[in-house]
Structures are given as C-alpha cells and as structure tokens.
C-alpha cells in the first residue's frame, strides 16, 4: 500500500475505521489486525469506488464488511484461543483529568454493551451514532431503509438497558 494513498485517503477517515474495529475486536492485538486489514482492503478495492456515494460511506461499508468477515473467521477458529484473547481489554491511553477519565470509562462500557449486540445490530448502531441518515445506514448495511428507524429504536432500548446495568455495576 503506498504511503501517499494511506495519508491522503485513509488517514483522514481513520476515526471511522477505529470506531468500527473497536466494536468488533476483542483485544488490542485483534483491533490492530482488524485496522490493518481494513486499510488493506480499502486500498485493494479503491478502483471499485465509482463516486456514486461519498468516500467516507465507502470506507464505512468496507470497514463493516471486513470486520464482519474477520469476526466470523475468528469464531470458526479454536474456541480456547478466543477465550484467551477475550480477556485482554483494548488498551486506551487516557488523559489525567477527571472528566476525560469518566468519558473513557463511559465509552469503554458503551463499547462493551455494543459488543453484546448481534453483528448486524452493532453495525447499525455504530452508523446511527456516527449520525448517518437512515438512507445511508440502509445503503451501507444493504437493508431496507423503511425498517431502519424501528430497528434503531429497538437496538437503542436494548443498549440503554445493558449500559445502565454496566454503569450501576
């Protein structure tokens, strides 16, 4: 992968990839592998991008597809292997202020709650949190936009319940 392409076309959108990879990976090592694999796939499929949607939408789509396929591949692998890695938490460096510490704790718990959702629901809620429109979510996820609103309400309800449980614990 050329470093120019990475710097100009991927790095400005790295936040998207980071957010998605964190939601689908179980350890720091997995997260880094997912991130690299997504970047590689974006680079490999760059010629297929036809300007019909925004470049960021394209990145969302590839990131989700790659993470889903890596997750499925990983599930097929040795179960014991997964148990070993699932105990490693993703490391997040933190600033010292109280407020940012609280934000970090909350986001980690939110991610934990997101990880308890099904693979597809995870993708939908991530796109919703990224303020994507229902139409865009449907386009990226390859589903009908009419049902997205209902789905999001249901997912949010479940997520809120799980998050409250985690925060009170």
């Amino acid at each position: 992968m050329s470093s120019d392409f990475y710097k100009t076309s991927i790095l400005p959108h790295s936040a998207i990839i980071i957010k998605i990879c964190r939601a689908y990976s179980n350890s720091q090592e997995d997260y880094e592998d997912y991130y690299q694999e997504v970047c590689l796939q974006i680079w490999k499929s760059k010629d297929n991008f036809k300007n019909k949607s925004e470049w960021s939408t394209w990145i969302y789509r590839i990131s989700l597809n790659v993470c889903l396929s890596l997750l499925r591949k990983q599930k097929k692998q040795d179960v014991t292997n997964r148990f070993e890695t699932s105990n490693n938490e993703i490391s997040i460096q933190s600033d010292a202020t109280e407020e940012s510490k609280e934000n970090d704790t909350n986001i980690i718990k939110l991610y934990d709650a997101i990880k308890e959702l099904s693979e597809i629901d995870r993708g939908i809620i991530l796109l919703y949190l990224e303020k994507k429109t229902y139409k865009e979510i449907a386009e990226i996820m390859g589903t009908n936009s009419n049902s997205i609103g209902v789905k999001i309400t249901r997912i949010k309800k479940r997520l809120k319940k799980q998050l409250t449980k985690k925060i009170t614990n």
Binding site: Q36, L110, L129
Partner: protein
C-alpha cells in the same frame, strides 16, 4: 444513567488518544511468520505421530503372531518417518528476514514438489510395497495352503494387477485426503497471501 448514549459516544471521542490509529506495520510479515510457524508445527506433529503408530502396528501383529508382517509394516512406517523428516528439513532453512513474498513463494514451490513426490511414491512405489505386505500376510496366515489352493493360474496373474491398481488408488486418495484435512487451510492461506502480495507489488 446521567448521559444519553449519543452523548457518551461523542464525548468519548473527544479524547484524542482514543482516536489515534495504530501504526501500520508490515501486515504480511506478521501473518506469514505465523502461518509458517503453524505449518512447521503441523508437519512436525504429523510426522512424529508415525512413531507411535508404527509401535502399535508392531505390537498388534506380534500379538496376532504375525511378527514378520508386523516388522515389515513398522519398518515401512519408520522409513516414511525418516523420509518425511528429510524432506521437511527445508522448512527449517526458511529465512524470515527475507521478504515474505520470497520465502512464501519458496514454500509454495516446496509444497507443490512434495505433493508431486508423494503422489508418485504412493501411486507407484506404495502398491509394490503393499503387495509384498499382502503376500507376507498370506504366507503367515493359517489358511495359507487353502488360499494358495483356491488360486487358479488366471487369478494368480490377474489378482496382483487388480491389487496393484487398487493399492495405487487407495494410496494416492488417502494421501490427498489427509493432506487436505491437515494442511488444506494452511496451504490455502499461503496461496492467498502470495496472490495478495503479488497484487500489492503491481
């Protein structure tokens, strides 16, 4: 819960550390070293499993009072163990400091050569060895006289040919099947990586 999910999400990413992308390292270097290690471990385990199998075969036929036949099979299995070990020594000479495309290509070539070699060995050599074993088995059998008696001249000529062909087919098929079951996934992974690396260098 004081904050909404949306607030937690947006505030969580205010921390710049959370949004720092990981450094892109040589993805394929890591992947290929891991695959080679797995291949080495699988071949070692596969080859060493021949030793206990040879012992079991030997003990089984000693108990069944077919010592010569048992010794014959155990010797064949041990020969296979040493032959495999010699052919697999190549894996230990792989230098992972080279570019991964280079050493993965070498391994791919080695795998292809080995498949060709063992297909020939099991397709041509194995039937003869198996036939000798079969004859030894009959000679060591209590029913030897009866078995030799019921063989007509025709069957004495035709049956070895049929047996040789059958052993050849069984040998090649069982090799291909076990190769696919034990190494199939790793070989596929190596092929995919080479293909991707070739694509990336374009």
């Amino acid at each position: 819960m004081k904050k909404s999910i949306e607030e937690i999400w947006s505030e969580g990413f205010d921390n710049k550390n959370f949004s720092i992308p990981p450094v892109i390292v040589n993805l394929y270097d890591k992947k290929s070293i891991l695959t080679i290690d797995k291949l080495k471990a699988a071949t070692k385990k596969d080859n060493w499993s021949i030793i206990p199998m040879a012992l079991i075969v030997l003990i089984f036929f000693i108990i069944k009072s077919k010592v010569i036949f048992g010794l014959y099979l155990a010797t064949l299995m041990l020969s296979l163990f040493f032959l495999n070990r010699k052919r697999l020594q190549f894996l230990n000479t792989i230098n992972t400091d080279q570019s991964c495309f280079e050493y993965l290509s070498k391994i791919q070539k080695m795998i292809k050569n080995n498949v060709k070699f063992y297909t020939r060995l099991l397709g041509i050599g194995f039937p003869f060895l198996a036939y000798i074993g079969y004859r030894l088995f009959i000679l060591g059998s209590d029913q030897k006289d009866h078995l030799l008696e019921i063989y007509s001249i025709n069957t004495m000529i035709i049956s070895p040919i049929i047996l040789l062909i059958s052993f050849s087919i069984i040998g090649v098929l069982s090799f291909r099947l076990s190769n696919y079951l034990i190494y199939g996934r790793l070989i596929k992974k190596i092929d995919e990586m080479i293909e991707e690396l070739a694509f990336l260098t374009k």
